[in-house]
Symmetry: C2
Subunit: 409 residues, 2 copies
């Protein structure tokens, strides 16, 4: 087998993520490695923690990275905070709510779910009612569920959780950076994300932040490896059922003790640091506004092409839109033509939406006018060739109206 060096085709990734990475993130990924306890390594870890405190809007000391994809970050948060038998409440408004419930089941929690139809979100009252009924140890709530494009409002949930003594955990993988997120102001005990959406990096590192209360629970469930055990170290009886995702051990590795756990994934650390650096360099608020502008332009554009937008648009994430595949158009073949003929990727869907909608993202590096307009121009051509009736120039014109301020952004 004579494999050649990797040489990916040119792609404009306008799906629900992963999306094309910021060029400077790719450059950072190729920086040479240093040792695990090199002063440069530990200072880069500390600096990355400080950068992500700003990204999350938190003072939480326990802000760091889990060396896994975003899904591993979710599991680390849940398995470290949930003891077998603990009651967990998961409001499900799409696929990733089901995932949180499933991960809690694997952690042997007593899992309770409430559901709204795909395309909707929960009112704070509905969540509080369920909390009162279930009396959970932890509420697990996705902020942005890419499967439906919906953004669950979180700003009132922390106070409800505090009132009822419930831990509040949210996964913001799909939303962080492109939508508001205020870890401290919203009263989060734990929040997780990934790099591959609005942060504009590759999948493979999961930023996480934990409140002091969450850290206390995690610390109370300590288990120490025999190989590095010291006098006085004792295991808790309800120790975390994972070594790799035991956030207490990961904290001791990131913290001043620098107690060896995994070998930090240096290149992913470099990439994660650069994602935060790019975001904060442009400005947290500026990045969010850019996602809103480009998301609004894409929304106007797909409507200008005559496409019907799925779900409650008032509660849509800024960075992704789902559109119904027009009657008579072969959805997968049309998506394939976008990729093969234009090098542009748009997304398919899961579960109840499979075959019904396409998902189109505008995030991170690709939350850009040229990316939006190119996608709309190509989509117009493909829709027409696949038999749909489309207004000539309708997508690009509507999007340009948003950019020039002639339409509501």
């Amino acid at each position: 087998m004579n494999a050649l060096p990797i040489d990916p085709p040119a792609r404009l990734l306008m799906g629900p993520g992963p999306i094309s990475a910021y060029p400077s993130v790719l450059t950072a990924m190729s920086a040479q490695l240093v040792g695990q306890y090199d002063p440069f390594m530990t200072s880069t870890m500390t600096e990355t923690q400080a950068l992500y405190r700003q990204v999350w809007a938190t003072e939480n000391d326990a802000t760091f990275l889990v060396d896994s994809t975003s899904r591993g970050g979710i599991e680390a948060a849940m398995i470290s905070l949930i003891r077998p038998g603990d009651r967990v409440l998961v409001p499900v408004f799409g696929r990733f709510g089901h995932l949180l419930a499933e991960i809690a089941e694997r952690a042997m929690a007593e899992v309770h779910t409430i559901e709204v139809p795909w395309g909707q979100v929960f009112t704070p009252a509905a969540i509080e009612e369920a909390i009162v009924r279930v009396k959970p140890h932890l509420l697990g709530l996705v902020q942005g569920d890419t499967s439906t494009t919906m953004l669950q409002p979180l700003e009132d949930i922390g106070a409800i959780c505090a009132k009822h003594g419930v831990l509040f955990y949210s996964d913001a993988t799909a939303s962080l950076g492109g939508n508001p997120f205020e870890a401290d102001a919203w009263g989060l005990d734990a929040a997780t994300a990934g790099l591959q959406k609005c942060l504009g990096g590759p999948s493979g590192s999961a930023p996480i932040t934990l409140s002091e209360r969450a850290v206390e629970i995690i610390r109370s469930r300590k288990k120490i490896e025999a190989g590095i055990r010291e006098a006085g170290d004792e295991d808790a009886p309800d120790f975390v059922r994972s070594n790799y995702f035991d956030l207490g051990m990961i904290l001791d590795y990131w913290g001043p003790r620098r107690l060896n756990h995994h070998t930090e994934a240096t290149s992913m650390l470099y990439g994660a640091r650069e994602c935060a650096r790019v975001l904060l360099g442009e400005g947290r608020e500026a990045v969010r506004v850019r996602h809103e502008l480009n998301g609004a332009a894409m929304l106007a554009g797909v409507r200008g092409l005559g496409l019907v937008v799925f779900g409650d648009v008032a509660h849509k994430m800024s960075n992704v839109v789902a559109v119904e595949i027009p009657d008579g158009v072969a959805g997968d073949a049309a998506r394939q033509a976008m990729l093969d003929d234009f090098g542009i990727e748009i997304g398919t869907s899961f579960g109840p939406l499979h075959g019904r909608v396409w998902r189109i993202g505008t995030m991170g590096y690709n939350a850009r006018k040229d990316a939006v307009l190119t996608t709309l121009a190509a989509l117009e051509q493909v829709l027409r060739r696949f038999g749909a009736t489309v207004p000539v120039g309708g997508g690009v014109d509507a999007a340009l109206d948003v950019y020039t301020g002639h339409a509501e952004a």
Copy 2:
């Protein structure tokens, strides 16, 4: 906070790993991303599987990557193969044996260990005796334990396991590439590794291979996410207690069903593929011989400097040597001088060896003559400045004798 682009200092990493990555691996890490189901992505995944089958010397269809550091690969293998209450036998000859035992404890196994003093390995007879006594479901045996530099012979263990109906799992993170490994010929049911040692890449991806028997066990413990559940799908009662590390789900993602699980860490995939490509391009046997030659040169060199080598040298990994810190030399300060004054990293140690030995690696990209000689030249200077009596040129001369064939390689 005004963070600058990442700019690591020049380092020659001659510790027990991570080591400096192959330049072409770093280049691969910076290739632009493609979508998760892009034909280029799925063909790259398939190609990477084929490359790693050659690296492992296996026909196992179930050969793929876990998106975590090597420690996560260990946990994935163990948690997927061990049911709560299963008996597990771990022969411990260093820190990573303790880690396997600890991960098995977290998986709620009934864990039995046997131990030899650090610096030794087990005879096949000692392992068989323990198997007969414990009757384990699984034997977990590290091949190379970096904490002691020892290489456990595995070639006779598979037959013993087969005879007694025991699953045979080995972690080869520290050894794979630089020492013999024959997954099929040695009867392995599961084997795991990382990129950051002899494979010459960054930590963050864990190559794994599973026998058909291992896959059957994993398949029997299936749990399907509600969000992607289809008619006829049913959970096994003893489902794997992790979603992220459920190898059955990861297999369905890598296999022809391409069932969505995590979002594959694209850059780490590119890097892992390049590590295998570099190794197979040079030749599996040639790479092993290169590690043996450079390891022998380093061994001769440190002896030529008058240092005492730790442990049973006949059972040392080719790619790392532990030397006793000479009396009167401040070990950590001397190591720091190697780093600060020469940009060369050598390793400290864990547990019973902490403060007693340094560990010096020659692996992957750094299993090179110039790296070995530069390290020995610098070490001579540092030892002298820290008060040790060292033969002038003794390290470099002895190593050069190995390279020129004037000494036993």
